[in-house]
């Protein structure tokens, strides 16, 4: 093994227990604080109009962030190996939480039935599933590592991922979350398996089907009334033609990005957030970042995420065992996927679908579970030194 370990032996046990990856922690805290600032900037107008309180969203996000930090500390202190035992229960619990959406505990916001109520909090099961799947799949792959060489083994490992994927898609009608959940599983399996070719084939296959569908929709061969998603694809291909309905959000986001220029209008100076970009503090927050902080600000955010992903890669590489490494790979895949999809939606590279920007977008559940994932990663980073 190419890993260097001479330093570790010199570190005393007590200080070892405190040791976490400092760069990752700093980047995460920076993103979190930056997120709070941007949520306040993007939401204050809407909040003061709708709730007569410009800090309405900020206060909720602050609470979620504080809870998230507590969660991160807790997960970073609990030995991640313990989680392996609880993984099946966590996994099953997350599946139950999806079903709870259909019970009286479920909540409907903006016409989407995607939340469950837990006392004063509302929680999105899709976020629970992401964490549960990462933990469960990491353990699952560890126990079936040898089988991944074969395609059947790969398929077997995909089953625990496909169940929640289909449930999220069928029950909560949330395609983007379903895709992210499936994507996390594929990434974890890709890293764990020694093969390349069926991933390449799979990528080509999915890409081919996607292009084919887009071609059919774009050329008008498919009738419009099959699904509202088809209209979204059309709006994606030509947002100006759907400027007043499906293409509105995308177009306004593009206007924000374009009008920001190189250096932006300055923090808090966005015009588009004044009721023009829907979900400005949420899915579309990146467009407000572009408008206020310009390309520099946008690149800075992308670079921060890149640093975070790089640190996760290092933690995974230095993990003491496969389970820890796969946990971190899952977290890394989760964050990378959401960042890429979010920015791709905002820049109209892919059709519009609701994906939040990790650590920055408004959303309590998302922050809470992301911080838990970071806690797990920090825990793994601590363990690598202990070995």
């Amino acid at each position: 093994m190419a890993r260097k370990r001479p330093v570790q032996t010199k570190i005393k046990k007590k200080s070892r227990a405190l040791f976490v990856d400092p760069s990752m922690l700093i980047v995460v805290m920076l993103l979190l604080c930056f997120g709070l600032i941007m949520v306040y900037s993007a939401s204050s107008y809407e909040a003061s109009v709708n709730f007569s309180d410009s800090t309405f969203y900020l206060r909720k996000q602050l609470g979620a962030s504080a809870l998230g930090i507590v969660c991160m500390i807790v997960f970073s202190r609990i030995d991640y190996h313990l989680m392996k035992k609880f993984a099946p229960y966590l996994y099953l619990g997350s599946l139950v939480s999806i079903i709870l959406v259909k019970t009286p505990l479920g909540m409907t916001i903006n016409g989407a039935n995607r939340w469950i109520r837990l006392g004063p909090l509302s929680v999105q099961p899709a976020e629970i599933v992401k964490l549960a799947l990462i933990v469960f799949l990491a353990g699952f792959i560890c126990s079936r590592k040898g089988q991944l060489t074969y395609f059947r083994g790969f398929l077997k490992c995909m089953i625990p991922a496909l169940i929640p994927t289909l449930m999220i898609y069928r029950i909560t009608r949330n395609l983007s979350s379903a895709l992210i959940i499936a994507g996390i599983a594929v990434i974890m399996l890709f890293v764990a398996s020694p093969r390349y070719w069926y991933y390449i084939l799979g990528a080509l296959g999915v890409g081919g089907v996607g292009f084919g569908l887009v071609y059919l929709v774009g050329s008008g061969i498919l009738p419009d009334n099959i699904s509202y998603r088809l209209t979204r694809v059309k709006a994606w291909l030509n947002p100006e033609a759907y400027a007043s309905n499906e293409g509105y959000q995308t177009l306004q986001a593009l206007y924000s990005i374009g009008s920001g220029g190189l250096t932006g209008k300055g923090l808090g100076q966005s015009i588009q957030k004044l009721g023009l970009v829907p979900e400005a503090q949420n899915d579309m927050i990146f467009s407000i970042i572009c408008e206020e902080l310009g390309l520099f600000g946008a690149f800075a955010v992308i670079i921060m995420f890149l640093i975070l992903i790089w640190r996760l890669l290092l933690v995974a590489t230095n993990a003491p065992d496969l389970f820890g490494a796969l946990l971190v790979v899952g977290v890394m895949g989760h964050i990378a996927l959401q960042v890429i999809l979010n920015i791709a939606v905002v820049t109209n590279v892919i059709p519009n679908t609701g994906v939040t920007l990790p650590f920055i977008s408004y959303g309590g559940t998302s922050i809470l579970f992301l911080m838990a994932e970071i806690g797990i990663s920090l825990n793994v980073s601590r363990a690598q030194k202990a070995d």
Partner: protein, 757 residues
């Protein structure tokens, strides 16, 4: 212990591959961001700014008031609200706001069609702007806003997410109100659509009355910060007019009474085709009252339910222009067909077209928009011209055999038997055509036409009202022959408007000074400060002072002579001296027995203060040519009530008959049929009324304390007792009898009252 499964080097390699893919994706997205900014940056910047502009809102101005000479508001604008429905906001958060909002609307605004609203909201969930009710009063809006406040408070304190009243807002607007409904409708005019005035003062002074809309908008300042800015609306100006609502209501009351009295009198139908009355001050051109018939409600000008349209449905044009040239008068008629009316015309076109014509005929002001042959009221103009030009001295006498042969035709006098030898004065008093024809021939055509121009019969008077007709081409005929001149001398064969006649006649009797007739005396801003004072406009001297004096003397004999010696005796209001001239003009086509009768009178005869011109077109009378008395009586009725109100005091002693008549009419009046103040005494000029000298108590409204309720009725406040013997007022505090002129206590019991002149 189980062997620890390691993260193999192969896996690490794949992880690096994954990182490279992620990095590539990030770079690709970064490049996309860069290209958006590079290629579309400027276009999107403009787009963002242009979207902002649309957020500015208009702040409506308030149209100015129209008030009468005492400050009573004839027209004003009241703030109202338009209800705007934001369907999208109602549907937010799963539509929990929808039901509370709709129920609040239905309880606060009963005029909203809830079914239509519900349908619209359900079918257009993305709509952000739709006006659903117009001209809502502030009271209703306040009620709604209280409901809204309560619902907001409830939602804040509630644990669960509850629906609030949302997605409704209000736009300010103004609506025009006419508190006296139909009073002076032809003079005031009305407003349609977006503050566009039609007819009357509303039409003529549209730009003065209108202000400039304000604007509330957001803009980017130099630091790219959004700033809100409000450009307040500039309200319109207020018009102070010379109209007097009391004089106007007296006039309109008597016109109405006339229509009631002579309906179906000689034949089935209305009392007359039309009646026009102008009351004005002959010394400065200020119009006190101007009325026609029928009237309409200014608050609802399209509603003709209470108007008898039959005379207007048959033939609207034949009664307006008597002489050949139709086009010139028609050209200047205001064209008003409201849009919604035009839309509804299609299904039954001919009938609706008639209705539209009838409406326009009713909306127009007869006194300025219609022209007619003046008849004998023209005679004083001919005589004044001849006197002023020195063609006659006024001492001449002419023999009247009852007709004069001109160009092979016998042109008859009113009295076909002839009156024998007549002086000029008698010619006027008896209205003899032969005398006038002889005078006109003495003058000659050129001189007669020259004076015609001097008296302004060839031009509009430029009175400040919308829709004045120029009757010049029918009045002014350079190629007139001897016959034309002969009939023109007594007012046939050419057309004039009432306001032309009244303005010219004022000049004849006031010393020869021709004032432009006008209504607006002051223009004020919103703070009540006078911006423009409109002085009486003296245009020219048409005849000399001495000629005017001679005319007054002659015109006095028309009314003040023995009934057998004059035509206008029945016009005199009891207690006053009056001068004037009757008119009876045969209408075209001749020989049908249709006449336009008129009387132009002024009081007092020697020092004219009030001029009243009455026209009755085709009276419902068995012998129209003999019906001049209808016009003189109408003049008398109006003058009898108007004169005391205008502080013009009687100078003549009353006969027993007159006294009895006055008492009777006063009693009828004070029982309260109409409620318009008949007598008014100002504090510094308390004057008794002789006819009130019996043992009766007269209710008097001192001018300063007269107040009006919303319907324009005067409310009496003071009672003054009069001495039974002398008719002098009694000081309420001391019980002493006061001299009516000096207001000093009088000793002795002289019953002689000195007249004004």
């Amino acid at each position: 212990m189980k062997k620890i499964k390691r993260f193999t080097i192969n896996m690490q390699r794949k992880l690096v591959v994954l990182f490279i893919i992620v990095l590539a994706a990030f770079i690709a997205l970064g490049y996309k961001l860069y290209t958006i900014t590079r290629d579309k940056g400027d276009a999107y910047k403009r787009q963002v700014l242009s979207q902002q502009k649309s957020s500015s809102t208009t702040l409506p101005f308030r149209r100015g008031d129209i008030v009468d000479r005492k400050g009573s508001r004839l027209a004003y604008s009241e703030k109202v609200y338009n209800l705007i429905v934001d369907s999208k906001q109602m549907h937010e958060e799963e539509g929990i706001h929808l039901e509370p909002t709709l129920s609040a609307i239905s309880s606060s605004f009963p005029e909203v069609d809830m079914e239509a609203l519900r349908k619209y909201v359900n079918e257009n969930p993305a709509s952000r702007y739709r006006v659903f009710a117009k001209k809502i009063s502030y009271d209703e809006v306040e009620k709604f806003e209280e409901l809204q406040k309560a619902s907001m408070a409830a939602s804040v304190s509630a644990d669960e997410k509850v629906g609030t009243i949302n997605g409704v807002w209000f736009e300010e607007d103004y609506t025009r109100k006419y508190p006296y409904d139909s009073l002076a409708c032809d003079v005031v005019g009305f407003v349609q659509g977006n503050n566009v005035g039609f007819y009357g003062l509303e039409g003529y002074y549209n730009d003065t009355l209108n202000g400039i809309n304000g604007r509330s908008y957001s803009y980017l300042n130099d630091d790219d910060v959004m700033e809100d800015s409000i450009q307040p609306a500039k309200d319109g100006r207020t018009l102070v007019t010379s109209l007097d609502i009391n004089v106007q209501s007296i006039v309109e009351k008597h016109i109405k009474l006339f229509y009631e009295k002579y309906k179906d009198f000689a034949r089935e139908g209305a009392a007359a085709e039309n009646i026009g009355v102008i009351v004005m001050n002959p010394n400065n051109g200020e119009v006190y009252a101007m009325a026609g018939y029928p009237v309409f409600n200014l608050n609802d000008p399209e509603n003709m339910d209470e108007v008898d349209l039959t005379p207007f449905m048959k033939s609207t044009s034949s009664n307006t222009v008597a002489v050949s040239d139709n086009s010139s008068a028609e050209d200047t008629l205001p064209e008003t067909v409201s849009a919604d009316e035009a839309a509804s015309v299609s299904n039954n076109e001919p009938e609706m077209d008639d209705l539209t014509k009838a409406k326009n005929a009713i909306w127009r002001n007869y006194c300025i928009s219609d022209s007619y042959e003046p008849g004998s009221v023209m005679k004083p103009f001919t005589v004044a011209a001849a006197l002023d030009a020195g063609k006659i001295t006024g001492e001449e006498s002419y023999d009247c055999p009852g007709y004069l042969e001109v160009g092979g035709f016998n042109i008859h006098c009113h009295n076909r038997l002839g009156d024998g030898l007549l002086t000029v004065q008698q010619g006027i008093a008896k209205s003899c055509n032969v005398v006038l024809m002889n005078i006109a021939f003495t003058m000659g055509k050129e001189e007669w036409l020259r004076y015609n121009r001097i008296f302004n019969f060839t031009l509009k008077t430029n009175i400040d009202l919308y829709g004045e007709t120029n009757a010049s081409s029918v009045a002014f005929n350079e190629n007139m022959g001897q016959t034309d001149l002969a009939v023109a001398s007594f007012g046939q064969g050419f057309n004039v408007t009432m306001i032309q006649m009244a303005a010219g006649f004022s000049a004849l009797i006031n010393g020869g000074y021709y004032y432009q007739p006008h209504l607006v005396t002051e223009i004020k801003n919103t703070d009540g400060a006078v911006i423009e004072e409109v002085e009486p406009k003296l245009l020219k001297q048409v005849i000399s002072e001495s000629t005017s004096k001679k005319m007054r003397d002659m015109l006095k004999t028309v009314v003040m002579s023995e009934p057998s010696e004059c035509t206008g005796w029945s016009a005199r209001p009891a207690g006053y001296t009056e001068g004037g001239k009757t008119g009876t003009a045969e209408k075209i086509p001749r020989g049908n027995g249709n006449y336009l009768i008129s009387f132009m009178g002024y009081v007092p005869a020697d020092d004219p203060q009030v001029l009243c011109y009455v026209i009755i077109d085709t009276p419902n009378h068995p012998q129209q040519s003999e019906s001049t008395r209808l016009a003189t009586t109408l003049n008398k009725d109006i003058m009898t009530e108007v004169l005391p109100y205008l502080n013009i005091f009687p100078t003549e002693e009353l006969t027993e008959d007159e006294r009895a008549q006055l008492t009777e009419s006063q009693e009828a009046f004070f029982v309260g049929s109409d409620g318009v103040s008949e007598n008014s005494v100002s504090e510094d000029n308390a004057e008794t009324l002789e006819e009130g000298g019996d043992d009766e108590t007269i209710v008097i409204n001192p001018e300063e304390t007269v107040s009006y309720d919303s319907a324009g009725k005067a409310i009496s406040q003071n009672e003054i007792r009069y001495d039974e013997e002398t008719g002098y007022p009694i000081d309420p505090s001391t019980g002493e009898v006061l001299d009516p002129v000096t207001l000093l206590p009088v000793n002795g019991n002289s019953s002689f009252i000195t007249g004004g002149d």
